[in-house]
């Protein structure tokens, strides 16, 4: 049995479509089941929060998963990343209110940054030797500057509409993000043939 973890949210539909094109169709009526069968008897799916995909795969609770490189790099999970899937493209950026000076704050203040990605944000500024304070939040990051929680934010941007609607300007790109297939290291060795077969069908879909 091969168990595949998919992320709820923006990556779910394209991921399910990608597997469908590879001939693996997720049961469209999952009901309340946690493990969802597919048309392939030896392949089942589980659907979890995006940041949990790598957790399931790293531990071996799932053999494979589909996740964004944003949450994957943030988690620093030790998993294989055999295939870029070509969807879910966006970027992790630093943004600040369009009306305030950048990059120096008036009065030499230390910038406070609200983000769901504290590790990546810290690494970005630490690498450049720029002192910042990181505040970890779990949602509605783009309102943090309006509400006085932070000066800047580090967040995922697709079209940039949400940023603009909140008066924010994109200042720096930290990471180009996309969906990747991840695999458990031990599973890839123990169930090699199943992994290789699945990889081959997914590669065909991605190249098409």
């Amino acid at each position: 049995m091969i168990r595949i973890a998919l992320a709820k949210g923006r990556l779910f539909e394209p991921a399910a479509a990608c597997f469908a094109k590879a001939g693996i169709v997720i049961d469209p009526n999952p009901g309340r089941r946690l493990l969802i069968p597919s048309n392939e008897p030896a392949i089942e799916f589980l659907i979890v929060k995006p940041s949990d995909v790598a957790v399931y795969v790293e531990s071996g609770a799932a053999d494979l998963g589909v996740t964004g490189t944003d949450v994957l790099r943030e988690s620093n999970a030790d998993v294989l990343e055999p295939l870029e899937l070509g969807f879910g493209a966006c970027r992790l950026v630093v943004a600040s209110p369009a009306s305030t000076p950048w990059p120096d704050l008036p009065g030499g203040k230390t910038a406070r940054i609200a983000t769901k990605y504290p590790r990546l944000a810290w690494a970005h500024f630490a690498q450049a030797g720029r002192p910042v304070e990181i505040i970890t939040v779990s949602g509605s990051v783009e309102v943090a500057p309006l509400l006085g929680l932070s000066h800047w934010i580090v967040d995922l941007v697709d079209t940039g509409n949400t940023l603009r609607a909140n008066g924010l300007s994109e200042r720096e790109t930290i990471l180009q993000v996309g969906a990747v297939l991840v695999a458990n290291r031990a599973s890839q060795k123990l169930k090699l043939d199943q992994h290789l077969a699945l990889m081959a069908s997914l590669e065909r879909v991605v190249r098409a």
């Binding site: 790293e58 531990s59 071996g60 620093n76 055999p82 458990n184 290291r185 031990a186 890839q188 123990l190």
Partner: protein, 319 residues
């Protein structure tokens, strides 16, 4: 009113009942196999000067040592692995002993994990070092010992993924430093697409990595790789085939050739392997040849060894 009892720190575990019993049984099984194989058990200290572990394991170890300061200000570390201590003892106490030396160990190692990760910071290991013998027979002995340990401990569905640093090293050596780092990353992630793109304009020796890194399977797969191998990689592949030929069929059934592991490349100098078993999401053991190790302790001699992770094995065996 009594004050609540202090909790244990993150990454520490109390093992009781079946959890303790199963680990003790594994230790006993390992001790029997190792003693029978002529391996003499060593009980090294639980803490050493940190320098011993850094000398043995290199810079990657530095992040993961659990350190504290001695009374004179020198830095101590909890035992990161047994190999470092054994190398130190072999280079001092056993300096003039008859070689090869067969030494074994069983006990806990202590490694720092990311904060709030909740992962255990101590692991129960058992293992062996064969020092002073650099030939194929020594490699065969350690591989057979590993499989015998796995069997005796009760593992059923297990495999030993066997590689050799000489398979990828020649290709990596012709790359520039930045390229090499990227190529190692793609190989480590098994990302064939990015690897192929990164190697598109590289020299033939490096371009061969695109194939070699994905060589995994039984004898026929390795034989096919050998037919296409460059003169620089051929000896490594031939060594692996010879090793497998020297195994009895019951052992051979558990061996999978796997040339795609890059992690141990700075540490191992010859064969390297990992033990995998159904029900475990990580390797249950690892080993290989590290002929540079003893030289770092002033007593250059070949070395090959294995260590098994008894916690992973106990969890995989638990009903």
């Amino acid at each position: 009113m009594t004050r609540p009892i202090a909790p244990i720190p993150p990454g520490a575990l109390d093992l009781t009942g079946p959890a303790a019993l199963s680990r003790r049984r594994l230790q006993r099984a390992a001790a029997d196999v190792l003693e029978h194989g002529g391996y003499e058990e060593l009980l090294p200290p639980t803490f050493e000067y940190e320098e011993v572990f850094l000398r043995a394991g290199g810079s990657g170890v530095a992040d993961r040592l659990i350190r504290f300061t001695d009374r004179d200000g020198r830095m101590l570390a909890l035992r990161y692995d047994f190999t470092a201590s054994i190398a130190r003892v072999a280079a001092t106490t056993f300096r003039d002993a008859t070689r090869p030396l067969r030494l074994s160990y069983s006990g806990k190692v202590f490694r720092q994990e990311p904060e709030r990760g909740g992962r255990p910071r101590e692991t129960l290991q058992a293992g062996a070092e064969l020092l002073g013998q650099g030939d194929l027979a020594a490699d065969v002995e350690i591989v057979r010992l590993t499989l015998e340990l796995a069997r005796t401990m009760g593992l059923r569905d297990f495999q030993l993924n066997l590689g050799h640093v000489g398979a990828l090293a020649p290709g990596l050596a012709v790359l520039g430093e930045a390229e090499r780092e990227a190529v190692r990353r793609w190989i480590d992630r098994k990302d064939k697409g990015n690897l192929t793109r990164a190697l598109a304009d590289a020299a033939p020796e490096a371009r061969a990595l695109g194939g070699l890194a994905f060589v995994i399977g039984r004898r026929s797969v390795l034989e096919q790789a050998l037919r296409q191998a460059s003169a620089a990689t051929r000896p490594a592949l031939e060594h692996l085939l010879q090793l497998e030929s020297a195994l009895p069929p019951a052992d051979r059934a558990h061996v999978v050739f796997d040339l795609g592991e890059v992690r141990g490349l700075d540490y191992y100098t010859g064969i390297h392997f990992e033990l995998f078993t159904a029900g475990a999401g990580q390797a249950a053991g690892a080993g290989g040849r590290y002929d540079d190790l003893m030289g770092r302790f002033g007593a250059p001699m070949p070395a090959v060894g294995v260590s098994l992770d008894l916690d992973t094995i106990a969890e995989a065996l638990a009903p």
